[in-house]
Amino acid sequence: MAADQLSATLFALADPTRRGLLARLANGDATVSELAEPYDMSLAAVSKHLKVLEGAGLISRGRAAQWRPCHLEAAPLRNISDWLEDYRRFWDRSLDSLADYLKTMPHPDDSGA
């Protein structure tokens, strides 16, 4: 996944409203009005959030006349999940390795810096 795409995805996911919108779209396509329903905010505000999600490739918008249903695009989420998993695995491996190294590491008598 392109590194700037990863950043765009993280930014898009940084907002609880946007996460809520994605969760709703995980259950099927919806129009902007339908998506805006549970929120106490203007259609314009919801549209702004959708624009961020679209910019990050997390949703696509249909072209059908004025309805333009929103559709969840799964790939960026899988990519970010993979990336986070790689990051966790990096530290998992490193700290395992550190634990082993501590057993063999020479340590002078030391009361702590």
Binding site: A14, A74, S81, S94, S97, A99, L102, K103, A113
Partner: protein, 159 residues
């Protein structure tokens, strides 16, 4: 013993914890002396052809990590806080730059606490956020919720 990972719902961090059967001063040394860091960083099968650390606020940490397949990655960090033997904070070298086509920038805080004869390590990784796509705007902290991602990912698997 494996690393435990938390992804709290209200903060933009990944928290990892691990307990070591070694005194805190030793764990601190293993984390801050480049001769030692090169021995474990990345895990088994990985090596560190370059590991230079100037362990003080503003100091550079230059690292080249070699993967088991021979591929090498250059990693550059800057230290932010150094409080021996209990707290070490460092950030990706590009952290204060405008966002560019690079990996998401992070700041890492590791704390060491005595636990009997052993040491509890806690690593908190915070991701920088972008308040505005306009690159001239100052950066804040990114808020991500892995919990949310996992929930969504699980939902996606059913689609």
């Amino acid at each position: 013993m494996s690393v435990s990972v938390e992804t709290p719902a209200t903060e933009a961090v990944i928290i990892m914890r691990r307990t070591f059967d070694a005194p805190r001063a030793q764990v601190w040394r293993a984390f801050t002396d480049p001769k030692h860091v090169a021995q474990w960083y990345g895990g088994h099968g990985f090596s560190s052809p370059v590991c230079e650390m100037d362990v003080r606020p503003g100091g550079l940490w230059r690292h080249v990590m070699r993967l088991p397949d021979g591929k090498e990655f250059a990693l550059d960090f800057i230290f932010v806080e150094v409080v021996p033997p209990q707290r070490l904070v460092w950030k990706d070298a590009g952290y204060d730059d405008p966002p560019a086509a690079g990996a998401p920038q992070r700041i890492n805080t590791v704390t060491f606490e005595e636990n009997g004869g052993g040491t509890d390590l806690k690593l908190v990784t915070t991701f920088r956020s972008i308040e505005d796509r306009d690159m001239t705007v100052k950066m804040g902290f990114t808020h991500i919720v892995s919990q949310g991602i996992e929930r969504l990912a699980a939902l996606l698997q059913t689609l």
